[in-house]
Structures are given as structure tokens and as C-alpha cells.
Amino acid sequence: MLAYTARRLLMLIPVLLGMSLIVFAVVHAIPGDPAKTIAGDKATPEQLQEIRKNLGLDQPVYIQYFKYLQALLQGDLGTSLVNKTKISEEIGPFLAATAELSFVAIAIALFFGINLGILSTWRQNSWLDYGSMFIALIGVSIPIFWLGLMEQWLFAQELGWFPSNGRLDPRMEYEPITYFYIIDALLFGDMAMLGDVLKHILLPAIALGTIPMAIIARMTRSSMLEVMRSDYVRTARAKGISEFLVIYKHTLKNAMIPILTVVGLQLGLLLGGAVLTETIFSWPGVGRYIYDAINSRDYPVIQSGILVLAFIFVMINLIVDLLYAWIDPRIQYGKE
């Protein structure tokens, strides 16, 4: 397992290099002169030259790339043109907000998706099966923004059970430690705060988790149906163990690899693509952060934001790969 992990980590290096190169190239291909953006229209050519020199823009492109890479390796994501703040210091809370929302969403999606899938395999071709798959069909078809708005209307406005936006009641402001509010609330041991945080996160998490839930349910069903027919499931039944163990231990674990692939891809998409949900629920996440940067043409923020999201996507895929090997002991040997 250790050798496998090391190998996978080494394979990450070219991927990350390629990623940084693409992001760098794309941002440099955008028309317009950053020096002019900074200095404004009335700047003299000398002033512009001065700014270019300060930013290192007068040097050849490959030198710029290596400098950029050097800064990246030191954790320096550049400086925002608008706020003049260091992006690496600024982006953390936004990332945490998005990550927290995504994890809760994927947890909801996993729980309901897998159990819905199991329910339909357990009684294949019964009304339970058709019912579960109908729910899944609705789930993949529903537009997120519409679902989010409907949730707000019904549960926040009409019923008043949940708040309609934000991460926490403004009266409960606190000094964040990790910026993961659920973890912070647990660290403080503050149950009232935890309750409020969960209340805030539930609606956006459901909106965000619905599509992954439906996809996971369908994947679970097809994967489980295949495994159910295998010899070792028959062996498990022949041992006289309970149906619960047959399904949740012997079948589900074997059906888990394709499910996990889907979960990894979906989680990656959630982390990058939560802009819509974050906008509807005023969630201060990284999607909103990049969205605002695009509106104010803050190129370094766009560049770094994309880079960070791409990095997270790659890391999630790495974790999924490692989980494969953890679930299926045959994988690490197969790759020797």
C-alpha cells in the first residue's frame, strides 16, 4: 500500500506541472495589458514600463513561467489587483466554505443514493425498484437553481423551518479556527452553534447533492445487480449469514469501485461548480469568489482560483485511486 501510494504521488508531478502550464498559458492568452489595467488610462509609457518591470512582465515568457512556478511552490498564489491582498491568505475561508458544503452534499448523496440503489436491487422489478429509479430520474433531471429556489420558498419562506441563506446566524459571529463551521462548533463544544450551522447548510447541501444522489443511485443499482449474480454472494448465502450482511458486506463492497469513481468525479464537480447554489444561498464559497473576480477582471485571482480548484480535483482523484487499492487488495498487485 505504501509503495502504491508513493507511485501514485510521483505520477502526480507531471499532472500538476501540465496543469500549471495550461492555467498560465490561458491567462496570458487573454487580450489586454495588465499594466494598463493597474495604472489606468492616463499612465505615461515610462510608468507602464516601470509597472511591467516590477511585475516581471518585461522578461521572456518562459522566465515568467518559471518565476510563477517558483512562487507557487512557495505557496504564493499572487496578489489580487482589486484588494491588493495576498490571494493565498484570502482564499482559505472561501475554500473551506465550499469544501464544507460539498462534503455535506456528497454525504447526503452517498447515504440516500446508495440506499436507494440497494432498495431497488433488493426487490428488482418490484414497485420499490421502479419507485427508487423514478426518484433517481427526477433527481438527475431537476435543475439545481429551480430546486434551490423551491427549497427556499417552501422551507424558508412558507414553513420557516430553515434559514434561506448564509452559513451562520449573524448574531453568532465568532473567531474561526478552521473556517469549517461544523468542525469549529465541535471544537468549541457549542451545540447551539452546531445546530445553527447544520440548519444553514442543509438546504444548499440538498440542492447540491440531488444530482450526485441520483447518479449514485443508478450506478449502485447496476453495479449491485451485477455483483448479486456472482458466485461468492451465493457462497455467502450458503453460509447462512443474514441478508443484511450479504448485501452490505459481500455485495456492496464489491460493487463499490464504480460507485466510488462516480463519487470522486461528482465531488470534484461540486467543489468547482457550486457557483449557482452558492449564489442562490449567498454561500461565501470559492465559486462566488471566482465569480466576483471575473466581474472585476481580477486576473491573478481568476488564475489562482482555477489553479486551486484544478489542484483539488486532481487530489480527489488521487484519493479515489488510493481508496480503490484500499477496497480491492488485487489492485496494488496488478500495477506492479
Binding site: D231, R234, K239, G240, I241, S242, D328, P329
Partner: protein
């Protein structure tokens, strides 16, 4: 005579499919007594594996359904037992090993995990105790190498995996072991070892074995009594000496003729003419009639009953029943 462990009476198991009803098992009688090794022989598709799955209660229902008959195991009628009762019997009093050792063990759990699970499904004991039992059992099936408990199935050979399957089946000392073609997928040398192992366990634990196979050589070596099946029905049943010396049913005779012999020079091996009947359209009379070399008119109209031809030897054929009546009038 010892008590029967398993008594199947007039079992009819049909599959209800879109294309029609498949009478996979159609009026089967089979008795296995304490400590006995019984061979169930027949071509592929004759219903022998389905019979074993029916005994274990592992036939998927639907499409399968037991329409008639009973399966009495140590006095309990399994056809009327609930899933819960069946679960309590399976793996404890009655166990099964399968044809494919390569795929019969779960690839994601260690050998130890799967053996311990088999123990703890029926016996309340600690993990350590179950593990100790598993280790002892592996030794009994000839796996003495240390660390196998912590290995995964893919690290073992086919023969080793079948030994593990046998250990798993025998770990709670069941009264009946059903072995469905246990050696078919193995090398010939390994086959002999596995059969020898089963014979030894049969003597040591007194476990009755129902050995399902299409290999008459295996049957000759192992079984006390042999039941020959054809198209869902028993066609002949007797002890192994009589089966090989005086087979009565034309199907059994055909089967025996098709075994190659070392001292014979033959251009071609004998094969029973024709094909197994279409399961959706069974012949009206004797099911073997279309392929039988000694077929008579009566065979095509009436189903012959399974009748004794002598003490301890039954056959489903009008041929001997006529002979019998001759003997009777003499």
C-alpha cells in the same frame, strides 16, 4: 439401516419464464443416510445442480418455484421452512461447496475473515476463538502454511481455494455436505487430492456427502450409492458395483459406454445419439425415448414409473419392468 439425513420426495421445481415453464426438476426422489456418500450423475442441464440449490434453499424465487413434493432434512420440511429457519440450517447443519473455486470466495475479504464469519453466523464465540477454529480447520484440509488466514483469495491457487471452501463448509461439522462438481475446474492431480480429502472428512466426521458430478470416474471412486438423472428425473439408482456391472437403464448404459477404456482400440468414442430434450417441450412418454436405442411403442406414450428391478436397484424403464413380470410368472 441408519437414519436418513435428507429425504427428497417427489420434488417438482419449475422455472416460470417468459418463454414458458421449465420443469427443471420433475418428480425427484432421493434419500441420503447418515455418513453416506451419494453420487448424483447426469449431463449438464439435467437438473442436478438445481436440485442441490433447492435443498439449500438458494434457488432464486421467482422465477423458480417448488410446485410439489418435500425436502425433509433431519425431520424438517425445508420447502415449508421460513427464510429465517433455512438460514439457521444453512452453513451449520448443511453446507455446500461449488464448482468454481476461483470465484466462490469473496475477493475483497481475507480467508480468515470469511472463515470466521462462517463460524460466528451460527455460534456465539469470540473472534479469537473462531480464528483458532479456522486455523485448526485449515490444517485439517491440508493447509498448514502459516499466514493463510490473513491472505486474500487471489493469493491462493485453485486447489488451495477449494480446500478453503471445504474448510469453510466443514467448520461447524455439518451433517450433510453438498458438493456441486467440486473438482471439475481443477487439474487432474489436484482433483484426486480434493476427492481424497472429502473421503477422509467423511470418515472422520461422519458427514454425509451428496456429490454432484458428470464424471463417472469420480463416482466410481467415491460413492456408496449412485443416482442417475436425466431431464429432471431420476432414471436409475443403485450401489456403485451394480451400476458399473449391470446398468439397467439404456441411458446409464450409454453413459458407461461413452467412457474411454485403456485396453480398447477404438476409432471413435461412443456417444449417445440425439440431444437432451428441449426443456420447454418435454417428450410425452419416457423422456429418453427419442434417443433410446431400445425404444418401444409404449415408451412414446406413457411415462415409465421408477420401479425396482431387484433389491436396492431401481430403474425408470419399461424394458426391465417387462422382464420383471416375466420373472414373476416363471
Amino acid at each position: 439401516m441408519t437414519q436418513p439425513v435428507l429425504e427428497i420426495q417427489h420434488l417438482k421445481l419449475h422455472f416460470f419464464t417468459d418463454k414458458g415453464v421449465v420443469k427443471a426438476v420433475d418428480g425427484l426422489d432421493l434419500t441420503i443416510r447418515e455418513g453416506e456418500i451419494v453420487g448424483l450423475v447426469g449431463e449438464s442441464g439435467c437438473g442436478k445442480s438445481v436440485t442441490s440449490l433447492a435443498v439449500m434453499g438458494l434457488v432464486p424465487q421467482p422465477p423458480g418455484k417448488i410446485v410439489d413434493g418435500s425436502i425433509r432434512f433431519q425431520g424438517t420440511d425445508l420447502t415449508k421452512a421460513s427464510q429465517r429457519e433455512l438460514r439457521q440450517i444453512r452453513g451449520k447443519d448443511m453446507a455446500m461447496i461449488f464448482q468454481e473455486p476461483m470465484t466462490s470466495l469473496n475477493p475483497l475479504f481475507t480467508i480468515g475473515n470469511q472463515l470466521i464469519e462462517a463460524v460466528r453466523a451460527h455460534r456465539s464465540c469470540s473472534k479469537a476463538e473462531a480464528r483458532e477454529l479456522a486455523r485448526e480447520m485449515l490444517e485439517k484440509v491440508g493447509i498448514a502454511r502459516k499466514g493463510v488466514l490473513d491472505e486474500y483469495p487471489h493469493q491462493l491457487s485453485g486447489g488451495m481455494r477449494q480446500r478453503v471452501m471445504i474448510a469453510m463448509a466443514m467448520i461447524l461439522n455439518p451433517r450433510l455436505l453438498i458438493a456441486d462438481e467440486p473438482t471439475t475446474a481443477l487439474d487432474v492431480t489436484i482433483q484426486a487430492q480434493i476427492l481424497e480429502l472429502m473421503q477422509r472428512l467423511n470418515e472422520e466426521f461422519g458427514t454425509a456427502i451428496l456429490l454432484i458430478t458428470h464424471d463417472l470416474g469420480v463416482v466410481a471412486e467415491m460413492c456408496d450409492r449412485i443416482v442417475v438423472m436425466y431431464a429432471g428425473q431420476v432414471v436409475e439408482e443403485t450401489d456403485r458395483y451394480r451400476l458399473f456391472r449391470q446398468p439397467r437403464h439404456p441411458y446409464t448404459q450409454g453413459l458407461l459406454l461413452s467412457i474411454p477404456k485403456l485396453d480398447e482400440q477404438k476409432e471413435r468414442l461412443y456417444a449417445i445419439p440425439g440431444q437432451v430434450p428441449n426443456p420447454y417441450q418435454m417428450p410425452a412418454g419416457c423422456r429418453f425415448a427419442p434417443r433410446c436405442t431400445q425404444v418401444m411403442d409404449v415408451c412414446r406414450q406413457t411415462v415409465p414409473p421408477l420401479a425396482p428391478v431387484e433389491q436396492g436397484h431401481v430403474s425408470r424403464c419399461f424394458l426391465h419392468q417387462k422382464e420383471e413380470s416375466h420373472h414373476g410368472t416363471d
